[in-house]
């Protein structure tokens, strides 16, 4: 149906037009009276009439009339069919054997008159799949479609399709992201897939644990468990560290559906990054078992560095080391000083002595594991410890503990450590029978490795580390050491043949060091005498302790993990930062970057430089869920971190969420329908409604036609002709 109307849009204000019109009429009347006497009334009327018509046309131009033409068009409405192809659509549908996606395909393609074909008669139909992205597909691709995508984002789909479609049809189990925003979306008809009543699942929805914990302090791990079905049964919830079971709890399911929390209290005894997993054994008939496990990486730090120091006798070495350790709030020191040897004679009864027994059995058997570092300070073991105790020290170091020897005349006891377990773990041996020298004071210098090693590289004046050590006062006594192949010499004597003074090394998982002098305290007082303060000694002691105990603050390389767990199939990035200290360049300090999957197999990874000096970006593509190990090897050792990759993001909760679909449909003015016939009927009914309201409107400006512009000079020309004919020109 067409219908027209005229509208005006005056060029000038209306009163101006009226004024000009009145003025024109008055002038025409005056003209008529003036010319009728000369050319007679009939001709005067003709000329005045022509002038009046011209005037009317000019006024008409100024009011700018337009013709509005409305026309109803019959256009086929667009319908977008959205098929959810996320992973949960691979779970069982209405029947036991078919998946939810199979049901969706059958709804569109099967039957006497397939729904897709029927809709095409009334709509311009386009097919889309929703997974990790929205994708247009042809009808021929529909039968081969597989449910492998990630949880779909409906908001993005509505934003993209809402403006170009009149109606949307969504085939989904309801596991889609939709934030309920009030967007202008066309009506959406939702067809729910899957059967919530037959769905049975026990899933670990979430693990709530702090990202970091402290050794020796309990940490709470809360596990949120979601259940569908299985009411009345009790299931075990198992907490593991790697493959080792740490603890287990029982969780009783009272009703269905149910969401409950069970918590574990864990006291980490070791420092490091631990891949923890929580699992519930799969139950009979469970629809989805992939969500029965969940992983977290717990990073355990030490709250304090615990040191056990045994000194052979009271000495300045002991006093200044004690002072350095006691003034460091991150260190807990337990020290024993041998005040009296078996050779000494005591002259007073016990009540007048402050001496206490040396609890060797307790310390060197049960309690050793509670320390991070054991220091023997000029301590010869024989009167106090036996070989079993030394064996325990060796095992302590092999297992990750640290052991340091501060030398002196007593420590080696003229070969007393030969053949003992300590000889095996120490990074140096005595060079001969003469094991200690105090005849000639000796200065120290940094070895090549000492120039870059974190223990000895700490000068406050740029990179002048060698200069700092050469300023240190000479040592009055040194042990004559010979570094083993496994030992790394950091400090050497400067007199005569260079003798190793500080040797460090690794044994098993632990670190060891020998400082072959009992005069290191002179580095404290000697620098003080020079007016340079005591900071060099304090920093040296602090760094030695931190290096030995693998304190992260001393790691030249730092790995920063992403805040959120990774996802399967999505590239994961980790930031690697190298602290630039000393002369070695940052790039040379990373020997290798590698990533290992949960089975321990190396996966493809790459390390790229960034614009920031000393910063690198490592990346890898996880193909399965679990805890991955990221390993960075440097000249100083190896650094490892654990990264969690969530098992199957979509599969964590596979229960059909039909209520969610209902909310979506209602928000858009659509409906939830379960059969093809209902869908077709509703779609056609809606299609009919939108056809009646579709109108095309055209606006035609009347004075835009050129012939109307020609009319005005034509009328003026005619007037001029009549005047001439009347003898007025």
């Amino acid at each position: 149906m067409n219908w027209n109307r005229i509208v005006i849009a005056p060029v000038f204000p209306f009163w101006v037009i009226l004024f000009l019109l009145s003025l024109g009429l008055a002038l025409t009347v005056v003209q008529y009276w003036m010319i009728q006497k000369r050319i007679g009334r009939p001709k005067a009327i003709q000329i005045s009439l022509l002038r009046l018509i011209t005037l009317s046309l000019l006024v008409s131009f100024s009011v700018n009339p337009s013709l509005i033409v409305k026309k109803e068009e019959k256009i086929v409405p667009a319908l977008a069919i959205l098929v959810d192809r996320s992973q949960s659509m691979s779970l069982s549908g209405q029947g036991e054997k078919k998946t939810r996606l199979d049901d969706a395909k059958a709804l569109l393609l099967d039957g006497e008159k397939p729904l897709l074909k029927a809709l095409k008669e009334s709509f311009e139909v386009k097919l889309y799949t929703m997974g990790e992205s929205l994708q247009a597909i042809g009808e021929s691709e529909l039968p081969g479609l597989k449910a492998v995508g990630k949880r779909a984002d409906l908001n993005r789909a509505l934003e993209k399709l809402g403006s170009t479609n009149s109606l949307l049809l969504l085939l989904s189990d309801g596991n889609v992201d939709w934030n309920g925003s009030d967007r202008k979306a066309p009506p959406l008809i939702a067809v729910p897939m899957g059967d919530p009543r037959s769905y049975k699942d026990i899933s670990i929805k979430e693990i709530k644990a702090p990202p970091i914990a402290f050794r020796g302090r309990p940490v709470q791990i809360e596990v949120v468990i979601k259940c569908h079905g299985y009411s009345g049964i009790t299931v075990p919830v198992i907490l593991r560290n790697g493959a080792k079971i740490l603890t287990a709890k029982s969780f009783s399911i009272r009703r269905s559906p149910e969401e409950g929390v069970t918590s574990f209290s864990l006291t980490p005894e070791e420092v490091g990054s631990f891949p923890l997993s929580v699992s519930i054994p799969p139950q009979f008939g469970e629809s989805l078992t992939a969500n029965n496990d969940a992983n977290i990486a717990l990073k355990v730090y030490r709250d304090k560095i615990r040191i056990l120091m045994v000194s052979g006798s009271p000495s300045l070495n002991y006093r200044y080391m004690r002072s350095a350790f006691k003034n460091d709030p991150t260190i807990d020191l337990l020290s024993f000083v041998i005040l009296r040897t078996p050779a000494n004679i005591i002259n007073v009864p016990l009540q007048e002595q402050s001496l206490i027994p040396f609890p060797v059995e307790t310390l060197f058997t049960n309690e050793l594991k509670n320390f991070d570092l054991v220091i023997f300070d000029d301590f010869f073991y024989r009167p106090y410890l036996n070989l079993n105790h030394l064996e325990h020290v060796k095992e302590f170091v092999r297992g990750g503990g640290s052991f340091a020897v501060i030398g002196g005349p007593n420590f080696f006891g003229q070969g007393g450590y030969e053949g003992t377990p300590l000889e095996e773990i120490l990074p140096a041996r005595l060079s001969g029978k003469e094991d200690y020298r105090r005849d000639l004071p000796s200065g120290v210098k940094l070895s090549r490795l000492g120039m870059i090693h974190p223990i000895t590289r700490f000068s406050s004046e740029g990179n002048n580390h060698q200069g700092l050590w050469q300023e240190m006062p000479p040592l009055d006594g040194i042990n004559l050491l010979e570094a083993k192949n496994s030992g790394r010499v950091l400090l050497e004597s400067t007199d005569g043949i260079p003798r190793p003074i500080l040797v460090v090394g690794n044994y098993g998982k632990g670190r060891v060091s020998i400082l072959g002098t009992d005069f290191s305290w002179k580095w404290y007082m000697g620098m003080l005498a020079q007016g340079k303060g005591n900071w060099a000694y304090l920093r040296f002691m602090e760094r030695m302790v931190r290096w030995l105990t693998r304190d992260p603050s001393l790691d030249p390389v730092q790995i920063t993990l992403p805040a959120k767990p990774g996802e399967v199939g999505q590239e994961m990035g980790v930031q690697v930062r190298v602290k630039e200290e000393g002369s070695s360049s940052a790039s040379k300090r990373i020997a290798s970057f590698s990533v290992f999957n949960p089975e321990g197999t190396k996966v493809v990874s790459q390390l790229r430089t960034t614009a920031q000096e000393g910063e690198f970006l490592g990346s890898f593509l996880p193909e399965k869920g679990g805890v991955y190990k990221v390993r960075v090897e440097t000249l100083e050792g190896r650094l490892e971190e654990s990264v969690v990759v969530a098992e199957a993001v979509e599969g964590l909760d596979g229960v059909p969420n039909h209520e969610h679909l209902k909310k979506i449909a209602e928000a858009t003015g659509g409906k939830v329908l379960s059969s093809g016939k209902e869908v077709l009927r509703e779609a056609e009914s809606y299609g009919e409604k939108i056809k009646e309201h579709f109108v095309e409107e055209k606006r035609l400006p009347l004075w835009s036609a050129p012939y109307l512009l020609v009319l005005i000079p034509a009328l003026l020309g005619m007037e001029w002709y009549l005047r001439r004919k009347g003898g007025m020109v």
């Binding site: 005591i346 200690y436 000697g526």
Partner: protein, 284 residues
Amino acid sequence: MEFRGEGNNGLSKVAVRNNPQEKSNISRRRFISLSLGLAAGVLFPSFKSPLSASGNQVAPTFPQFFFTQIKYQGGQWDPNPQLLDSLMEELELRTSIRGMKERRLITLSDPDLFFCPLLYMAGKDEFDPFTPKEREILGRFLTYGGFLLADDTMGAKGFGFDKSFRREMNQIFPGQELKRLPSDHSVYRSFYLIETLGGRQKVNPYLEGITLDQWTPVIYSQNDLSGAWARDRFGKWIHPCVPGGEPQRASAFKAGINIIVYSLASDYKKDLVHHPFIKRRLNL
């Protein structure tokens, strides 16, 4: 023979041992040492005798402690020159510390002062004020971990050495006074459990000191400790101890040992692990 009557007192034995007229007692000490060594050998049967490891070979060769006495201007800086022999013998006999028999002498302007484990300053009379440089050096040494034992051999409060020493300490540590050390101070517990302070005389039954944070870098006695330690080259005590006699001398030796141990081990005895033992022995 003067001390024989003291019976079981260990210090008496030291004195007697050093008397050339009582050489048989030297072998007695060796006998006791050997017995203990053998006893330890029984406890650790598979190892060398501890006597051979630490007593005979290494320890005498490399002393780790030496006594450094300050020479200052004016007054009498060395009232008891023979103070050290008996103290060092006692130190070696009773403790694991190996001390040098010879004392070292030093002036306050000597840079080697910073390498002395224990500075000793004794005197009887008033002495000249320290120079500003000497005060600065001594102040820096003591503030950052050094240790000074001062010994007033006259023992007159407010006179002589006492007057000068307090003046210098006031100059070096303005606002810090020499105060009586509390009975639970580490110096009373570093080796022996001391309840009263001996010396040649008994002016104060306690020690005074200046404490900075947890460390007491200055310890001061007015009981003439060195007078009680001093022994002539024949092994006789130079001064009698009054009024307490030999127990008072024994107490002075215990104080000397404790002060030396404190200078090397600091407040080690304040560590928690020692508390239950010390409390039990003191019936606290």
